[in-house]
């Protein structure tokens, strides 16, 4: 082994695990995040820079790990996640009416976050183990693997996260080839269910109606979406103010640092979940569309990596990760613009918050790792 490295060789060694298209798109998003953060919450710039640095480093580290090794981590991570979730159920801290945190003495952690990566990893690994013999039994088993942690998260209660974890698992199952005969009815049930809630919202949202499955605050979120004006100073205030911010941005926006909704504190949570409203207010429709295009290009790159991935497990994993990115982005922007309920989902790569950014960049790292292996296997 040669210890004296030429600078060019060093750079090449550093860049080797990096997928240039993905990295370029990610850089554009992270840079946009910093620009918007300067306007939304200048006091958080340093923290955001630090988070970005850490997240990029972890992405690079992940990208260097061979995808086979990553998949082999699936089982331990999944088991750890489930154990921690049980721990939360038994000993967790209650905050804001929900039991989500586990105090390990060293740090307070939210095991449901871990599940967002562990779940698709686990299912991808599981289907890889059963490659060539994937049948009805496998799908049932996958369903069980999916249902256990989702059920634990639902009871915390944290509907938003449990839906995201469930979605992550369902994407793997979908890509693994679950029959359309099953998918179509499931989608239909979901559509009919949501449709009826919208249609009968007025009756369902009467205070004396008990929704059984959902907690009061979740019912509140759905009802507020159906009629934001019914609660203009509570939850509805968030949606009303963010749609005003977006709408008043117009075609070209009010200009960087010029958003009145942003700078007069009308936008709630403007550095986290509602940061898109800041962006749309200050950069207008043009800014919003550029963001959509960049995100879509990143998602397309993810799908391309999945299509070309060398093994079944990596294909499923890459596809699911890409779909998770999409889900975050769609749910967040849909919520901020008032077409989906208020769910605590950050805008991927833009919202402030270290945990989410690290999780997402590790996801990008996994995609890069898979892409690198394909490149190696082709060469």
């Amino acid at each position: 082994m040669e210890f004296r490295l030429h600078p060019v060789a060093l750079i090449r060694a550093i860049l080797r695990p990096i997928d240039p298209p993905l990295f370029l798109l990610l850089t554009v998003l992270l840079a946009a995040a910093l620009v918007v953060m300067q306007s939304a919450s200048p006091a958080r710039m340093e923290a955001q820079l630090a988070n970005t640095g850490v997240a990029l480093a972890l992405m690079w580290v992940t990208a260097r790990i061979p995808s086979a090794r990553l998949l082999s981590l699936a089982m331990p991570l999944y088991v750890l996640g489930v154990v921690l979730l049980i721990g939360v159920a038994l000993f967790g801290e209650i905050s804001k009416g929900a039991q989500r945190w586990l105090d390990l003495g060293v740090a307070r952690i939210q095991p449901s976050e871990l599940m967002k990566i562990a779940m698709p990893l686990m299912l991808a690994w599981f289907f890889q183990q059963r490659e060539g013999a994937i049948g009805f039994v496998e799908f049932v088993l996958a369903g069980v693997l999916l249902a256990v942690p989702v059920a634990l998260i639902v009871t915390q209660p944290d509907l938003g996260t449990s839906l995201l974890v469930a979605a992550a698992g369902l994407y793997v199952i979908f890509f693994a080839g679950l029959s359309w005969k099953l998918i179509v009815p499931l989608v239909l049930v979901a559509v009919v269910g949501l449709g009826s809630i919208v249609a009968f919202g007025d009756t369902l949202c009467q205070p004396e109606v008990d929704w059984q499955v959902l907690r009061e605050y979740q019912k509140h979120r759905v009802c507020t979406l159906l009629d934001p004006t019914s609660d203009p100073l509570g939850k509805g205030f968030h949606i009303i103010q963010s749609t005003i911010a977006i709408g008043s941005g117009g075609m070209f926006g009010k200009g960087w640092m010029q958003g009145t909704q942003t700078h007069l504190s009308f936008i709630p949570e403007r550095h986290t979940d509602f940061i898109f409203a800041v962006m749309a207010e200050e950069f207008g429709l043009i800014g919003a569309l550029v963001l959509l295009v960049v995100l879509f290009m990143l998602l397309l790159r993810g799908l391309m990596i999945a299509a070309a991935a060398p093994t079944l497990g990596t294909r499923l994993l890459a596809g699911a990760i890409t779909m998770i990115f999409f889900t975050y982005a769609f749910v967040n922007m849909g919520m901020v613009s008032g077409i989906l309920p208020v769910v605590g989902v950050p805008l991927p790569f833009i919202s402030y918050g270290g945990t989410a950014l690290v999780t997402l960049c590790i996801g990008v790292g996994i995609l890069m790792s898979i892409q690198r292996e394909r490149a190696l296997s082709q060469s």
């Binding site: 075609m251 799908l303 922007m333």
Partner: protein, 629 residues
């Protein structure tokens, strides 16, 4: 699903699904794009307006309320700025906790808490309500340093009303109080709701109430940029407020003080009028109250003290309490006799000491009677029999018709709220007054009592003073008024109040002269002689006694009757006799004979007004009153 699949088939199958996923993403993101186009292009105008509405708040700037000064410029009501600590309940989570924590920084008494609770019930939920008024500079500084701990709590500079003369003019100036629901209804009816945005107090009594529209002014506004918490970020534009008009009164505070002090702790009222203008020179209702007590919400103890006192200090006796005029009615009766031709000045009657009507003996004061009595003697000696006969000759309709133009038994229309109309008795009045047919009939004997100012007669001291003014002003009647000028403080323009007479009663100069001459002799040789002994001017007057309690058969003896059942004492007077500058009516409740308690008050007031003489023992006004301007 159980059929055998080759890895290649698996891969192509997966790729189909990836394409499906990609198409699905494209559709969803296009949906978002469509939503953005809708919000940012199609509905841009709407959301742009909404954002501007959010950002820009129109903050009302309440105007400076007009001052009230007496005819010599002495300040009776003015504004002063003080800091208040305000809580906006809608922005505060735990109110009690917030107030408890505040009380560690500034002094908050139980009274402050109760008042806050009361104000809060009266205000809209988003309005701010004062928890403490008149903060010291030190308290302001202590709070400002900790303001960040108290969202929804702020210090505000407010203008408060102040009445430097205290209880001297409580009944005239009145007071202000917080706008309550009833005031809101009135403001809505007047279409003034917008003009009162930002105003918290409104006139509740006296001139503060009756001249509210003049005193208030026009509310200005500031267009400011506000943040989501409603805090002002910067000023965009301003429309200045127009201060309210100030009032210059006809009242002379010095004269008022002399009259006020002359009453001491006796109950009663005095109204003094300038006959040539109808301007009220002094208007006393005793006891009075200090309007400053009401300025930032009266305490329960103070309110109870005022409201439950048997002396009823909140009652404005000068304009609201009507009393039988007693013998002060006689000069007007005499004038009626002359004007209707029923009597001549020289015509005399023989007075046996009583008058018989319908089998009933109406008694004179003097046992055995006054002998031969003409008009002059009847007034100077206050002979009842002369007036029993005259009343019978005039008839009740004749009396009522003659008296009505003088304003007896009708609202005078004075510019103070809460005037009572009293009773000018007539068969018509009796029909309306009573419900049972048996009570509705007018009896001839009742006319006889009315002739000497007893019976159903009931007039306010203001009506008596107004009628006397008309009598000494050759029948020219002015509407009595307390305000002389309404002054625009910006231009200095003055508008005179009620400058023209409202009617002229057709009276003969010779008749008027005869009555006035008799009244002058009342103060020289008659019932007013003792009170006006040694006067350096010539004044006319008439005593009167209003019966409170009738003792059947036995003679009324003051000492035998409880204080509250004693007769009310009247005195009406004018001076100087040849060209009267002041006409007044004094009533002392339960004061006994008019010559004893009411007449000396009239003497002190006239002495001061004409000669600037102060009664012994009264300090000069410049020493006991705060100096102004």
């Amino acid at each position: 699903m159980t059929e055998f699949r080759s890895p290649d088939q698996e891969v192509s199958r997966l790729r189909v699904r990836l394409v499906v996923a990609g198409v699905f993403m494209l559709i969803c993101l296009s949906l978002l794009a469509a939503r953005f186009v809708y919000l940012q292009v199609v509905r841009f105008d709407y959301y742009h307006t909404r954002a501007e509405d959010n950002r820009i708040a129109l903050v009302p700037v309440p105007p400076n309320r007009g001052a009230i000064v007496d005819r010599n410029g002495k300040v009776l009501a003015r504004n002063f700025a003080a800091y208040t600590l305000d809580i906006t309940p809608s922005q505060v989570g735990d109110l009690d906790d917030t107030i408890d924590r505040l009380s560690e920084i500034v002094d908050i008494s139980d009274y402050d808490r109760r008042r806050f609770k009361k104000f809060r019930e009266e205000s809209k939920f988003f309005e701010s309500v004062p928890i403490r008024t008149k903060l010291t500079d030190e308290e302001v500084a202590r709070f400002i340093a900790r303001r960040y701990l108290f969202p929804g709590v702020d210090v505000q500079a407010r203008l408060f009303r102040e009445y430097p003369q205290g209880d001297l003019l409580g009944h005239v100036v009145g007071y202000m109080g917080r706008i309550n629901n009833r005031d809101v209804d009135h403001l809505e009816a007047r279409g003034e709701t917008a003009n009162y945005r930002g105003t918290e107090h409104i006139g509740k009594r006296g001139l503060e109430e009756s001249y509210e529209a003049e005193l208030h002014g026009k509310t200005g506004s500031e267009q400011v940029e506000v943040d989501a918490g409603g805090r002002k970020v910067r000023l965009l534009s301003r429309r200045t407020a127009v201060p309210g008009n100030s009032l210059i009164l006809t009242v002379d505070a010095g004269l008022q003080a002399v009259a006020h002090q002359a009453f001491g702790d006796r109950r009663g009222a005095l109204v003094a009028i300038e006959p040539s203008t109808g301007g009220v020179l002094a208007l006393v209702s005793s006891p009075s109250f200090d309007p400053n007590l009401f300025v930032d919400g009266i305490s329960v103890a103070d309110w109870k003290g005022l409201n439950e006192s048997p002396d009823r200090p909140l009652l404005n006796r000068a304009i609201y309490s009507a009393y039988p005029p007693g013998s002060t009615f006689k000069p007007f009766m005499g004038l009626a006799g002359l004007s209707t031709g029923k009597r001549t000045p020289q015509q005399a009657i023989a007075d046996p000491g009583f008058y018989v009507f319908g089998g009933h003996r109406f008694m004179d004061d003097k046992i055995g009677g006054h002998g031969m009595v003409d008009l002059h003697t009847s007034i100077v000696q206050s002979c009842n029999t002369y007036y029993y006969m005259l009343a019978n000759d005039l008839g009740i309709e004749g009396i009522a018709d003659f008296m009505r133009p003088f304003g007896f038994g009708q609202l005078t229309g004075i510019d103070l709220p809460g005037e009572a109309d009293g009773v000018l008795p007539s068969p018509d009045w009796k029909r309306k007054r009573f419900k049972k047919p048996g009570q509705q009939k007018w009896y001839g004997g009742e006319t006889i009592s009315v002739g000497i100012g007893q019976g159903y007669n009931a007039y306010t001291p203001l009506q008596m003073a107004t009628a006397l003014s008309a009598l000494v002003n050759d029948g020219v009647v002015f509407k009595p008024h307390v305000v002389k000028y309404v002054v625009d403080p910006q231009t200095g323009t003055r508008r005179e109040v009620e400058p023209k007479p409202i009617r002229q009663i057709p009276l003969k100069a010779a008749h008027l002269a005869a009555i006035r001459a008799a009244m002058v002799d009342v103060n020289k040789t008659g019932t007013g002689a003792r009170a006006f002994a040694g006067a350096e001017y010539s004044a006319g007057g008439k005593t009167g006694t209003a019966q409170v309690y009738s003792l059947k058969g036995s003679k009324y003896k003051e000492g035998n009757v409880a204080e509250r059942l004693r007769d009310h004492s009247w005195f009406i007077a004018f001076a100087p006799a040849d060209k009267p500058r002041i006409a007044l009516a004094v009533l002392v409740e339960n004061g006994g004979f008019g010559s004893r308690s009411a007449a000396p008050i009239a003497r002190q007031v006239i002495d001061y007004y004409l000669l600037g003489k102060r009664p012994a023992g009264q300090a000069s006004e410049d020493e006991d009153a705060p100096a102004d301007h």
